[in-house]
């Protein structure tokens, strides 16, 4: 709970500081505040909120704490990533406050104990992102991106709400514990109502994590939005969404797994195949990362599908590893695209020679996303597959394995471009101090998490 207050205050500060002519302070205060927020979250580890508080509105269990920490850290890294854009912009106040508010929504999505909070969390998370996606106001692409995201997001929200209404109709409650109990004991007004409601909620959530066939917004929105915002979307938004998805389905709708597990199976399979295969064709790294982001949703769904003891830990680890890898990839992409004015694979040509550090970070990120040891992405995938196999989902694991083989192709393409292809202009990209710090932290995270996965998975 304290985390939410802390973050909301941070966002409020960012919003108001400009009025008091403290614009210069916004960035540093928030940047330093985020570790504080993480610390506050950690202090709730064994806090009084282990069981639901505020009339069963939220619960700060370990799951919530860990996901909050992951998202907060990601936001801190994101702040580093976007620092130039943020500091130069006259809208620093808007950007930072929106990002922090969005994060608050994300935290709500991992700690809700009531569908009301889930709904609010999703909206608080999404609305700032709709705006941020369009924050490059003069760019048509950015506009289009914001519009598509907003329109489809709102449409999906409609489904989510209709689903919530049906679930309410079936269980007479918004309270997760009561719903779970009702589902478990079949104390329902109508089973059909519940099933259909779950499907509608599933559609809404699948949209948020961009699972096929509800993914259509993703490539376009990711491509059109400013790169920093894309990084935000593909990390924090995704983490919050999958955590919320997991909390709802694995903790609450467990008793109805028969209804939704087949659907998730199919959705996961489609997501894995479609995301990975389509990414192969892309010529723009940014769009490729968008498809890759779709495909990663597929892996995460596997853990949800498995519902094993290890599922929570595996999703947590996966999101952490994936966020670290994505932040690294987007950071490099942003710098390269700014320097070259193009987001294609060929923008990376010769980077290995002209900017070995960037190339190295990109390599680590790509290998991590591809799931090659000793990068974090490997253990992430391993743990997910392990959970799924544990629960007997052999078929989908095989699909996932094949899909990740395909993914190696397009991740390595980036590396090949960097180290193999020559570039005519040997452009040197100056790294600011904060970017250097970011690069070091991201690389260290990718490798350290990969080598010592216990740091995270033993927590859940």
């Amino acid at each position: 709970m304290n985390t939410i207050i802390f973050l909301a205050s941070l966002g409020g500060f960012a919003m108001l500081a400009e009025i008091f002519r403290l614009r210069k302070l916004i960035y540093p205060v928030v940047l330093l505040g985020l570790p504080g927020a993480a610390a506050v979250a950690v202090m709730d580890w064994n806090g009084r909120a282990l069981s639901p508080i505020f009339n069963n509105m939220i619960v700060f269990d370990h799951f919530a704490v860990m996901f909050s920490v992951v998202m907060i850290v990601t936001l801190a890294l994101w702040m580093l990533l976007a620092h130039r854009g943020l500091n130069e912009s006259v809208t620093v106040s808007d950007h930072v406050s929106l990002a922090v508010f969005s994060l608050t929504g994300g935290v709500l999505m991992v700690c809700y104990a009531n569908l009301t909070m889930l709904f609010l969390g999703i909206e608080i998370l999404s609305i700032p992102v709709y705006i941020l996606a369009g924050s490059n106001k003069t760019s048509l692409r950015s506009n289009e991106s914001a519009f598509k995201y907003f329109l489809m997001g709102a449409f999906a929200t409609g489904f989510l709400l209709f689903g919530i209404a049906m679930v309410y109709g079936a269980t007479a409650s918004f309270d997760l514990m009561r719903i779970a109990e009702a589902v478990y004991t079949s104390a329902l007004t109508s089973k059909m109502l519940l099933g259909t409601g779950i499907i509608f909620i599933l559609v809404g959530m699948a949209f948020k994590i961009s699972a096929v066939p509800f993914h259509f917004w993703t490539p376009d929105v990711y491509e059109g939005a400013p790169t920093a915002i894309t990084a935000f979307m593909s990390t924090i938004v995704k983490t919050a969404a999958i955590a919320a998805f997991f909390r709802l389905f694995a903790f609450c709708f467990t008793g109805e797994a028969g209804t939704w597990s087949t659907i998730i199976w199919a959705v996961a399979a489609l997501t894995l195949l479609y995301g990975n295969i389509t990414a192969v064709y892309q010529q723009s790294v940014k769009r490729m990362l968008a498809y890759s982001s779709i495909s990663h949703a597929g892996y995460m769904l596997l853990a949800l599908l498995a519902m094993a003891d290890t599922s929570q830990g595996s999703i947590l680890y996966y999101t952490a590893a994936y966020s670290a890898g994505s932040i690294g990839a987007f950071a490099v992409l942003m710098l390269v695209a700014q320097a070259k004015g193009n987001e294609g694979f060929d923008a990376f040509n010769g980077l290995g020679r002209s900017n070995p550090i960037l190339a190295f970070v990109m390599t680590c990120s790509m290998l991590s996303l591809a799931g090659i040891p000793p990068m974090a992405g490997f253990f992430a995938k391993y743990y997910i597959f392990s959970s799924a196999l544990d629960s007997g989902y052999t078929g989908i694991v095989i699909i996932a394995v094949i899909a990740s083989l395909v993914s190696v192709y397009y991740y390595l393409r980036v590396i090949i471009a960097m180290y193999f292809r020559e570039s005519r202009e040997g452009l040197t990209i100056e790294l600011s101090l904060l970017h250097q710090v970011l690069m070091i932290i991201v690389t260290a995270l990718i490798i350290a998490l990969g080598i010592f996965p216990d740091l995270i998975i033993s927590r859940l």
Binding site: T310, G313, G352, L367, I372, P373, P374, F378, Y382, Y383, F385, S386, L389, D390, V397, I398, V401, S404, L405, V408, Y409, L412, R413, I415, I416, Y419, F420, R421, F452, P453, D454, I457, S458
Partner: protein
């Protein structure tokens, strides 16, 4: 303290690589060479230690790593591992030395990648924990891929991509197999005294594998076999290999063929045979048939190759087919022979590829048709080539013979017909090797080969020891065979022989 040798063997190349990366020194190759020599000394020291501890022939280190899922950093050196580690430590200095002339761009990166590769390989050969093994296994792929990509030649982007993904295909199957087995480790109810947590420890995995019914073991067999078969490679999973060998820089080719290939054969011995005995017994026929087909098939293809490096690449497939067939016979002769042949093939093939490199660097071609008569110009080189070649065709008193004989011996005990076809390597090997030797070295000198420069000091420093080793190991292989024997016996006792 003694157990830290293992750690040292793994960590030292890595530290050296880091040092190289950060110093960016101009003398990178010298530092790398020195490091690899020290590593070799360490390996020899370990060898000596192991010999003294004949009763407990293991240098082991076992510390918890990922407690949550029962993964330990368990590395140990028994006889089999010792041979592989020794081979790695022996070949890397040669490989580094052989590239002295090449003047690679960005040498510190190049050599540190080689050393990282060495770390990963040593890790693969010593890991006694399934997870750790897998991590090292994959880790080995990254540096070699970069070496091929950055310093290779030709259409290497496509080729190395194929190589990476193809080998990864196998690895992932193995991972799936590992995970599956892992689920059957551990026993008892949580909280009770009898509870044993799940674990990736090799013993636990062995037990888990043996507890499966034969059908399941068959699946696990294929999961592992695919990984190893692709890595080695065994027909028909080999098509990544010739292209990659050709495209890679010579040091990379040497690493690939000299050591990395042995990951597959080592994997068979350590991880496949004892892991799922019933699976192995059910599928050994298939595996041996594939291997034997590979021998004949690759030998035949080698006969019509026009490029020297590609020819060696196919010959390597043939050799490795023999190794794999021999190992699958589950006989002590076959497995010991396999080990011996791994070492011998490693030394030999490094020599052969180096020879190809020497020729290429002087004549700018590897096409057999364009070469000829080098012997007239550089007789010493011709002799060295000849001896390496004889090692490759397994002439008695070269190291190749000991291995090949034992392998065919093992195969013979399994099946006469298999031995007959496997034995064709004796004939076909001579056909393609002598053909290439004749095309390259004999005949009249032509304009391409006329200016063939004498061997440099570095080149001699690689080739001569290789030649000496080829003969020495052929005449007196006993120390190597002895040290592996108990471990091999143990493997066979777990896997169950064919008799």
């Amino acid at each position: 303290m003694k157990n830290m040798i293992v750690l040292g063997l793994i960590a030292f190349p890595f530290l050296a690589a880091l040092l190289l990366l950060f110093t960016k020194s101009e003398g990178a190759k010298k530092i790398a060479f020195a490091a690899s020599v020290i590593e070799f000394a360490l390996a020899v020291f370990a060898f000596a230690q192991l010999k003294q501890n004949a009763v407990h022939p293991e240098l082991a280190l076992n510390v918890p790593w990922i407690k949550t899922i029962g993964v330990n950093f368990h590395v140990a050196i028994d006889g089999i591992s010792m041979l592989m580690v020794l081979l790695t430590a022996l070949l890397v200095p040669f490989i580094i030395l052989s590239s002295f002339r090449s003047n690679h761009e960005n040498p510190s990166l190049f050599y540190s990648l080689i050393l990282i590769m060495q770390m990963a390989l040593t890790g693969v050969f010593t890991a006694m924990d399934g997870f750790l093994f897998y991590v090292f296994w994959e880790l080995a792929l990254i540096p070699i891929w970069f070496i091929c990509l950055m310093w290779g030649s030709g259409d290497r982007a496509r080729i190395t991509l194929k190589f990476f993904i193809y080998t990864l295909v196998g690895s992932l199957f193995m991972l799936a197999g590992l995970i599956y087995l892992y689920q059957f480790t551990g026993s008892g109810e949580i909280g009770t005294k009898e509870f044993v947590g799940r674990s990736f420890d090799i013993k636990a995995l062995y037990a888990a594998g043996a507890s499966l019914d034969p059908g399941q073991q068959g699946w696990i067999f294929w999961a592992f076999f695919l990984a190893f078969a692709i890595k080695m490679p065994v027909f028909p999973f080999h098509t990544w290999q010739p292209d990659t060998y050709v495209a890679a820089p010579t040091a990379g080719t040497m690493l690939l063929s000299g050591i990395m290939l042995k990951m597959g054969t080592y994997g068979l011995i350590r991880w496949l045979l004892p892991l799922v005995p019933a699976g192995v017994h059910a599928w050994m026929d298939t595996a041996i048939i594939l291997s034997v087909i590979g021998i004949v098939y690759a030998s035949c293809i080698a006969i019509v190759q026009k490029d020297l490096k590609r020819l060696i690449a196919y010959s390597s497939i043939a050799h490795v087919g023999l190794i794999s067939a021999g190992i699958f016979t589950l006989t002590a002769e076959g497995i010991q022979g396999g080990l011996m042949q791994m070492i011998s093939h490693g030394i030999n093939v490094v020599g052969l590829f180096f020879i190809a490199e020497i020729i290429l660097s002087r004549t700018s071609t590897r096409q057999l048709a364009e070469l000829g008569g080098i012997r007239n110009v550089e007789p010493q080189f011709a002799v060295l080539f000849l001896i390496v070649l004889l090692g490759s065709v397994a002439l008695p008193l070269t190291s190749g013979f000991v291995g090949e004989f034992l392998l065919i011996n093992g195969i013979y005990q399994y099946s006469t017909w298999a031995a007959l076809f496997a034995g064709l390597t004796v004939i076909l090997g001579a056909v393609y090797m002598l053909r290439s030797y004749q095309r390259v070295m004999l005949g009249e000198t032509n304009s391409v080969t006329a200016g063939f420069a004498p061997l440099t000091f570095h080149e001699k420093a690689v080739l001569i020891p290789i030649v000496i080793l080829i003969i020495a190991l052929g005449v007196y292989p006993k120390p190597l065979m002895e040290i592996a024997e108990p471990a091999v016996k143990q493997i066979i006792s777990i896997a169950g022989g064919i008799k």
